[in-house]
């Protein structure tokens, strides 16, 4: 009987060993080989396709893997203003739906405000009526419910829908309906429906780039950093991580990314992760977190460590949560890459109205974002990004 128990235990060990072996070989913490990490197979494929045959990709963007961050047609919101000029005249009585992930979350609430205020402002300017109806799913895992809401909007004959899918796939069937029908569907922000014709949102890859540039400068281009990844299945998490790791390898080869692990967007988990890192890598200089919630968990772990070692560890997050702003003011978190959901909403609504009123818009438009640290935290957001309201002729 002892033999059998030993055997079983041996099995556990063998299993763990083999899995760990694949794990460590699959993902090299070494930044000198800046290939995208093994956990983003989808993205790797897309990139390969793009680099092998860029012409075909640009001709038929929908056929290959659609990656809004790297789409060749993509332009910045300022470029949009330059290339398309003033707003076209608005048709009266348009109805635009907004479908967000969930309305409990601060981020999506700001996005909603952006939709509504832009709509109200532009309709007022044009002297027409415009209805904006923003709805959300029950929670961030209510994929079915979100699809039902979108189908309802289509059935009610909305002219346009600004949708933010919970997963990359839950709304694809509704998007297909729109693609062949009357309703214009614009994918806004991080979830990406592969079959969408239009996308507006911050460049998630750029989030990571901004963070990497700032940290590299603060560390004088040498040291050790780590990345707290969100849910590994999330597009934003993959892109932000890739943007950070790849940029770091490029601009600061002497900065080593010693670890990249997921904390599932959970603050408690991020804190525990950072605690483990700080015992394992006492020379860690900075942590980049895929969002602010997790960054604030890291801040808690770092604070204890700083008290003991007297050494500062930079913590940078993404999203621009008000709590992160507060923490930056109080000397906790060091920086956040704010993608200004309010302005995402503004740009997306503007894009939608341009499209609905006769302008042929490019497939992808990137919205404003900026890194906020103690240096620029007290400036107005509109100032930081150089915002101007859209104008009619």
């Amino acid at each position: 009987m002892k033999k059998r128990r030993l055997l079983a235990m041996g099995l556990i060990l063998a299993m763990t060993a083999s899995v760990c072996a694949c794990g460590s070989s699959g993902q090299s913490p070494d930044t000198e080989t800046p290939e995208p990490a093994a956990e983003t197979p989808a993205e790797t494929e897309g990139e390969e396709a793009a680099s092998e045959d860029p012409v075909e990709t640009s001709q038929e963007p929908a056929a290959a893997e659609f990656d809004p961050d790297k789409d060749p047609s993509g332009i910045d919101w300022t470029q949009m203003r330059e290339q398309y000029g003033a707003m076209p005249a608005l048709e009266d009585g348009l109805v635009v739906g907004g479908l967000v992930k969930q309305l409990q979350n601060e981020f999506w609430k700001s996005l909603k405000t952006g939709y509504e205020e832009c709509g109200v402002y532009l309709a007022e300017q044009a002297g027409v009526t415009l209805t904006v109806d923003v709805q959300g799913a029950q929670n961030e895992s209510d994929e079915e419910g979100q699809l039902t809401t979108m189908n309802n909007m289509i059935n009610k004959g909305y002219n346009g829908i600004l949708f933010s899918p919970i997963s990359d796939s839950n709304l694809t069937s509704a998007v297909d309906t729109c693609n062949g029908g009357e309703t214009i569907a614009v994918n806004v922000n991080d979830g990406v429906a592969q079959n969408t014709d239009y996308f507006v949102g911050p460049n998630a890859y750029q989030n990571g780039v901004l963070a990497a540039e700032w940290i590299a400068e603060k560390l004088n281009h040498e040291g050790q950093v780590a990345v707290v990844i969100g849910k590994v299945s999330a597009y934003a998490a993959r892109e932000r991580t890739a943007g950070f790791v790849e940029t770091m390898a490029e601009i600061a080869p002497d900065i080593e990314v010693v670890a990249q692990q997921s904390a599932d967007w959970d603050r408690q988990a991020a804190k525990e992760l950072a605690e483990t890192w700080l015992t394992q890598y006492p020379d860690l200089d900075a942590v980049f977190s895929n969002n602010d919630d997790m960054a604030l968990g890291v801040v808690e772990a770092v604070r204890e460590y700083e008290k003991e070692s007297g050494k500062h560890v930079y913590v940078v997050g993404v999203d621009g949560d008000s709590e992160a702003y507060e923490s930056i003011r109080n000397g906790g978190q060091d920086a956040t890459v704010d993608s200004f959901p309010y302005y995402v909403g503004m740009v997306a609504m503007e894009y939608m109205l341009r499209q609905l009123n006769g302008q042929e818009m490019p497939k992808v438009v990137w919205t404003p974002q900026a890194l906020i640290s103690s240096e620029n935290i007290d400036s107005e957001a509109s100032e930081v990004i150089g915002w101007t309201d859209a104008a009619f002729e």
Partner: protein, 321 residues
């Protein structure tokens, strides 16, 4: 010698889990010698605290033959409630007590649904999971409650002179108390009876409903305590906190030898289960194992633990022979 043999005989299942932890430690130490250190040991204790406390409570719900899926939501609602109270200047200790009472009340609701309305525990607590989570959203309007004063945060989040956090002691203390409740009190005896054969326990004069209500209250109390600790660790009350924690707690119970149909299990086993999960997690982080593989390994451990349940009976009959 006799005492040792007796202890071994009475805690066979717990020993299996302990041996599992032992092997995990050896494995990671071989892979990376820095794993075996006092600091790392403390780290594992710290990181098993939240899940461990929730899982200890979950053991009580599972013991009755039920389950409590709402623990993550209770955890969230208590975090939000205490955060709100302390931010608006209430006495931190008073806020903590009210938060814990709120947890008990939530557990009481679960218990009443299961006993008086005779709902299946899985369904009832699936419902209350959404209800409690929804209440947390409504109360906070979906925005995290920030600025929890240090006067609250020091309650659990300070270190003693030897560098150990108070909350680790709270974990060990609550484990001992709940262990004693389960093994030494009348409630504990009744729990084993109810889980083993509810009808027989009823006919023996055990008041089943009251036993179950208390089990669900203790379960939710533990979730509330875990929430109050997490709040003191993080300093901000996020209404989404604790999503999915119920599954991790159930995993700890299963690895520790709780029988999902009830009547079998122990607090010691569950604590070992939580420690095993934490030591595995810390080890994999230290080895920088890709997150994808971490899921596979954790899942495999749960399956192996379930397998042990099955072969244990066979092994025992062979030993006797």
């Amino acid at each position: 010698m006799n005492v040792v043999r007796k202890t071994v005989n009475h805690n066979k299942r717990e020993l299996v889990t302990l041996v599992g932890i032992f092997f995990i430690c050896i494995f990671f130490t071989v892979m990376d010698s820095s794993y075996l250190s006092w600091n790392n040991f403390l780290l594992i204790l710290q990181q098993s605290t939240i899940n461990g406390i929730i899982a200890v409570g979950m053991t009580f719900a599972i013991m009755t033959g039920g389950i409590d899926l709402s623990v993550g939501a209770v955890y969230g609602i208590v975090i939000v409630a205490i955060a709100k109270m302390t931010v608006s200047g209430w006495n931190p200790i008073l806020s903590l007590l009210i938060g814990l009472l709120l947890g008990c009340a939530a557990g009481c609701i679960n218990g009443l649904l299961v006993t008086k309305l005779k709902l299946q525990p899985f369904i009832a607590t699936l419902g209350t999971l959404d209800i409690f989570r929804g209440v947390a959203y409504v109360v906070t309007d979906g925005v995290p409650v920030i600025g929890v004063p240090d006067s609250y945060r020091v309650i659990f989040n300070s270190r003693l002179s030897n560098g150990i956090y108070i909350y680790v002691f709270v974990f060990l203390l609550i484990a001992v108390i709940m262990g004693v409740v389960l093994s030494k009190t009348r409630l504990g005896n009744y729990l084993y009876a109810v889980g083993g054969n509810e009808e027989a326990a009823r006919l023996s004069g055990v008041s089943i409903d009251w036993v179950k209500i208390r089990a669900y209250m203790l379960c939710a109390f533990c979730a509330a305590l875990a929430g109050s600790i997490s709040l003191s660790n993080l300093g901000s009350g996020n209404p989404t906190a604790g999503e999915g924690y119920e599954l991790e707690a159930i995993a700890a119970c299963a690895i520790g030898g709780s029988r999902m149909a009830g009547g079998k299990g122990s607090v010691l086993g569950t604590v070992f289960g939580a420690l095993l999960l934490a030591s595995l997690k810390v080890g994999m982080i230290i080895m920088n194992v890709n997150t994808f593989y971490q899921y596979i390994v954790t899942g495999a451990i749960i399956v192996i633990a379930a397998f042990f349940e099955v072969i244990q009976v066979k092994l025992e009959s062979k030993i006797k022979k």
